[in-house]
């Protein structure tokens, strides 16, 4: 743990301590680079994680004011909570459910694979699959991903047994307990999964990988990290040469501070990353920092979701066990005959009792609504995680009418679903319904799209600087010492839960940044 002077202009300042920022901080500090890591939230630990769902939600969630618009269901069902990510040291790796599949090679060539699609702003990734694969392999070892490198899978839970039986009836072949960043046996100085559920409330066993208790303490141990929790970045500044040189933030007391920087890496989750760059406009960069293309905040993707619940004669106790440990991968294909392009996963899911009526069910009340909850004990659950199409008008903007605690405009999240997105969700919910029906469900209930947890692509990597914000290293096209280091940089979302890809890109970016620093280019 080190203390870096506010005027030290040699440090790398990373904003956000989640999968991207936390990994990058560790990778740079272990190479001898001094890093100031700004995190808006407080530092919790396996001891302090609350096990009361409502309290845990308030303890970990980013709850600053936001607005939203567009035709997506979230705007109707969850008007005050368009997205659900964390505000705490470790970022969203504290509440994530740890599913870590890889993107498919063809998903990186989305434009080439799917062709020109009206109403979408598809492009191909500027990275070859084999370049990414190398870092996937490193990331999987670091995260201890199950079913890779000889790490056993997690044992099947009751909820998975239901999914498995239904999937087999429909003839699906690739059905297993998932590639999970959850220890199926002790590893990495962390405990093993005791199937407690409560992945979303913070894993009190530390069995689920999080930067909170892996990369961040390891970065601190190098002596090169200055972690500043409860520090909210409000502006990135630049000099007359057009390079960024400082980050302005509010500390735990609400006092404004200014940290000089050699390099700034933004990793605040796709909504806040875009918002911070837009808030950092200046005479030289009137559209926002790094935004000469006008692409910052655009092409916002969140992956298609939607629950399906099956209620049976006999108990399932779906809350017992690792929340997301089960997947069907047969639909991760591009088969336009299904009525849409792109692929989707079907993943095991459940919600604790207090959360289920609020998030898992479509808007409702009265006899019919409560009769679903009566079946909670006998209920199994799944949801879809599929690729949504980027659209230029689906974007994060600043809402001048709503301000945060510091008087700065809040983010507005606008999403109009593409018809492809809707066709995919319908297909997936149909398949999942068929599975539960095939094994005798009494009742099948389709749930809503919950607040988005996979926030992506708002500063996407592009070969052509006019089509995105960052180059193949997540370095902004406009400013060579300004980087984007979270899911914002993904070119397209694909159908894989994004954390493994974010970690792989952060590992790759860390190598690039340290090389460029050594060569004196940044």
């Amino acid at each position: 743990m080190s203390s870096i002077d506010f005027h030290d202009s040699g440090a790398v300042v990373i904003i956000g301590s989640g999968a991207g920022g936390g990994t990058l901080a560790h990778e740079l500090t272990r190479r001898g680079v001094k890093v100031v890591l700004l995190e808006a939230g407080k530092r919790q630990s396996t001891e302090t994680f609350s096990q009361i769902p409502g309290e845990a939600f308030a303890q970990l969630t980013w709850l600053e004011a936001r607005t939203q618009s567009g035709n997506w269901g979230v705007a109707r069902d969850f008007p005050t909570l368009p997205v659900w990510h964390c505000k705490t040291v470790g970022g969203t790796t504290v509440h994530w459910t740890a599913s870590t599949p890889r993107l498919q090679p063809w998903e990186l060539r989305a434009k080439t694979t799917y062709g020109e699609i009206a109403g979408a702003s598809l492009i191909d990734w500027p990275i070859r699959y084999d370049e990414l694969l190398k870092y996937y392999e490193i990331a999987e070892k670091r995260l201890g991903v199950t079913r890779r490198n000889g790490v056993p899978g997690l044992p099947a839970s009751n909820n998975f047994k239901v999914m498995y039986a239904g999937a087999k009836k429909l003839g699906y072949k690739q059905v297993h307990t998932g590639h999970m960043a959850i220890n199926s046996r002790p590893a990495d100085g962390r405990g093993f999964c005791i199937q407690q559920g409560f992945c979303v409330q913070g894993c009190k066993m530390g069995a689920k990988w999080s930067t909170l208790y892996t990369d961040i303490p390891r970065a601190e141990a190098t002596g090169n990290l200055d972690l500043r929790a409860e520090s909210t970045a409000t502006r990135i500044e630049h000099g007359t040469n057009g390079l960024v040189n400082a980050v302005v933030y509010r500390d735990a007391q609400g006092k404004e501070q200014r940290q000089k920087a050699r390099i700034v890496c933004v990793a605040g989750n796709a909504v806040e990353t875009a918002r911070l760059l837009l808030l950092s406009d200046s005479a030289k960069f009137p559209q926002g920092l790094g935004n000469s293309s006008g692409q910052i905040g655009r092409n916002y993707c969140h992956q298609i979701t939607g629950f399906v619940w099956g209620i049976f004669d006999k108990p399932v106790y779906s809350w017992r066990g690792a929340t997301l440990a089960g997947v069907i991968e047969d639909e991760v294909i591009n088969e336009p005959k299904r009525g849409f392009v792109g692929g989707y996963r079907m993943e095991l899911v459940t919600l604790d009792l207090p959360t289920f009526p609020l998030v898992g069910l479509p808007y409702g009340w009265g006899r019919d609504f409560s009769s679903i909850i009566e079946g909670y004990r006998n209920m199994a659950g799944m949801f879809i995680n599929g690729e949504d199409l980027p659209r230029a008008a689906n974007r994060i903007t600043l809402n001048p009418n709503v301000k945060d605690a510091f008087g700065l405009p809040a983010a507005n999240v606008h999403v109009d679903e593409h018809s492809n997105d809707q066709a995919m969700r319908k297909h997936a919910q149909g398949q999942m319904s068929k599975m539960y029906d095939a094994i005798g469900a009494n009742r099948i209930v389709l749930g809503p799209t919950p607040p988005a947890t996979h926030n992506l692509c708002t500063a996407r990597m592009s070969a052509d600087p006019r089509e995105g914000v960052t180059n193949r290293w997540g370095q902004t096209h406009d400013i060579k010492n300004l980087f984007v280091s979270d899911g914002s940089a993904l070119t397209t979302p694909g159908s894989a839960n994004p954390t493994l890809t974010i970690v792989a890109l952060a590992l790759r970016q860390a190598e690039y940044i340290s090389q460029e620093m050594k060569a004196g280019r940044v």
Binding site: P155, S157, N158, A165, T177, C193, I194, F198, P357, S370
Partner: protein, 190 residues
Amino acid sequence: MLKSDLNIMNELVNLGRRETIKVTTGLLTGLVIAGSHLSLIARGPVWAVDLSTLTTSEGATLMAVARTIAPHDKLDDAAYALVVQALDADATSNQINRAMLKEGIEKLGPGFEASSEGGRVEALKKIESSQFFQSMRLKTLQVLYSSPIAYSYFGYEGEAFSKGGYLHRGFNDLRWLPEVSSEDSGPMPI
């Protein structure tokens, strides 16, 4: 039971042991019915919830609203009284909330509580888009299913870290479907 759940239950005290609080504007009370989910966790024969802004009659109307929004016939009244308690706390700390609740109750009128379920549903449908109803719906769902009475009623076991997880307490005890093949599952860690 969790410590915090016990705190919630402290609000549901035996009338005989109830301490006089500074300002009591209303009281919701009822018997703990033998064999009910509440009886498994209550400490006395009677439950009571003090109100510090709403009157007894207003509390009873809101309880009827909560039961119409989320009807579970065999779930104890006390579970719904906890919703009213939370509403009362909001009304106590916030003038706007208080005005909204009082106005909503007035609009429903004195006959609401005693009307049939069909009548109550009709009355609520008429005001479904109001802020009063939307707040009532949200608060009912937030509070009703978070209480230890609801946990017991729905068979929900809650957090398990303190008990060693569900690893040896039934996470894989389902026997009415075929077992998962070993290559698609994984070994028990211990």
